[in-house]
Amino acid sequence: MNSGNKVLTIVWKDVLTELRTKQMLGAIFVFVLLLIVIFSFGFDLRVDNVATVAPGMLWVTFAFAGTLELNRSFSAEIAEARLDSLLLAPMERSTIYFGKMLGNLIFISAIEALVLPIFSAVLNLNLIRPVLLLTIFLGAIGFAAVGTLLSAIAVNTRACEVMLPVLLFPIVLPVVVSAVKLTAGILDGLPWASLTHWLRLLIGFDVIFVVLSYMTFDYVVES
């Protein structure tokens, strides 16, 4: 097996586990629905133009849902001592990183895909536009890249559910800042030329975070 296949094997393992148990996606979906309810009551009747608060609502939701998902990513591996067997498998540590990262990316994207139509309906705002989908996907890449690394660290701490967002949010901030700005620009209907530099920035941050996490992941799972 070449390393590409190995990565896909790990991804498939995680996807299959989720498809059989359907634990995480279901729970996170309900959590997100509740978030939307809280948001709608929080902003109800006080905001004239929902497009002004939509970027914030979207990315807060993605950040919370993403953190829940990332927490599950390694805690499930630890709980059943699966991580040790994964580490014993004859493959590079970076293969494990990319496998877990792609799995997380798929799950986060799946959650976002479920959430977007609901947000569109609740806000009465068309959110399903190609550029916006691209932005959200790029944001998810940045989130999954650092999140996978930090989730592997946080799972070793006491109170790991609290630890992950404390570690993750300040680090992933550049991705969130550029994604929110891009989302706001798209919803405000700004000309595309004024948004491309944000897009380039977002892609640049994604590349930096993937490389950085890939380079340091070896040290996290070495024992």
């Binding site: 650092v146 690394l149 930090l150 660290i153 070793n156 701490t157 006491r158 109170a159 630890m163 404390v166 570690l167 300040p170 680090i171 992933v172 901030l173 550049p174 800042v177 550029s178 700005k181 530099h197 944000w198 920035l201 941050f205 930096i208 975070f209 950085l212 996490s213 340091t216 040290y219 996290v220 070495e222 024992s223």
Partner: protein, 232 residues
Amino acid sequence: MDRGFRAGDVLNWLSVVAMIAALYLVFLYAPTEATMGHLQRIFYFHVSSAWVGFFAFFVTLLACIAYLHSRKRDWDIVAFSSVEVGIMFTAMAVITGSIWAKPTWNAWWPWQQEPRLILVTILLLVYLAYLMLRAFLEGEEQKARFAAVYGIVAFASVPLTFWSVRWWQRLHPVVFERQGARLTLPMLATFLFCLLAFTILYFALLLHRTRLAKLTDEVEALKKALRFREGV
């Protein structure tokens, strides 16, 4: 141990003398600024403590990389000691900055309008998270390894935040303009001396903090040995 002690003594006295000299320069030697008056004198200590804060986190980055390479406990001690000292200096920069900002900008901490304030806020949050991570981990080796990884990722991320917010600002009108006043020569001399004095103080504090950590290690080792003997 003995040599460290002497280096510590030298640094102690150096920083005492340097700080007294800095106070003299700031309050008696440096001329009063024309528009802001005496308020401007806070600038010397403010920028110096901000500089030492950044420098301390940079030292942490180097120590983290060195730790992952060599796996020596000493580097780990330097890394977290420098974070602790750095947080203190950054907090000092925040406090002096707020005292300056209130009469000048009419707000204590208008952090959303000024990229530098966002940078400092994120720095404090990231390195508080670093210390929290250490507090929630068990085992010295694990603590050091994970903290080193986080220290590296954190240091790489902070300038990116600064950069993205900078870009954001460019699209908006600049709310606060940095005062255009150039420093006169005595002011510049005072400023440079303050930088030096604060840097010496940083090294003195770092040395004491690392010494304390090493002594703590020794005490732990002795306790362990004692427990072991009692057990036998």
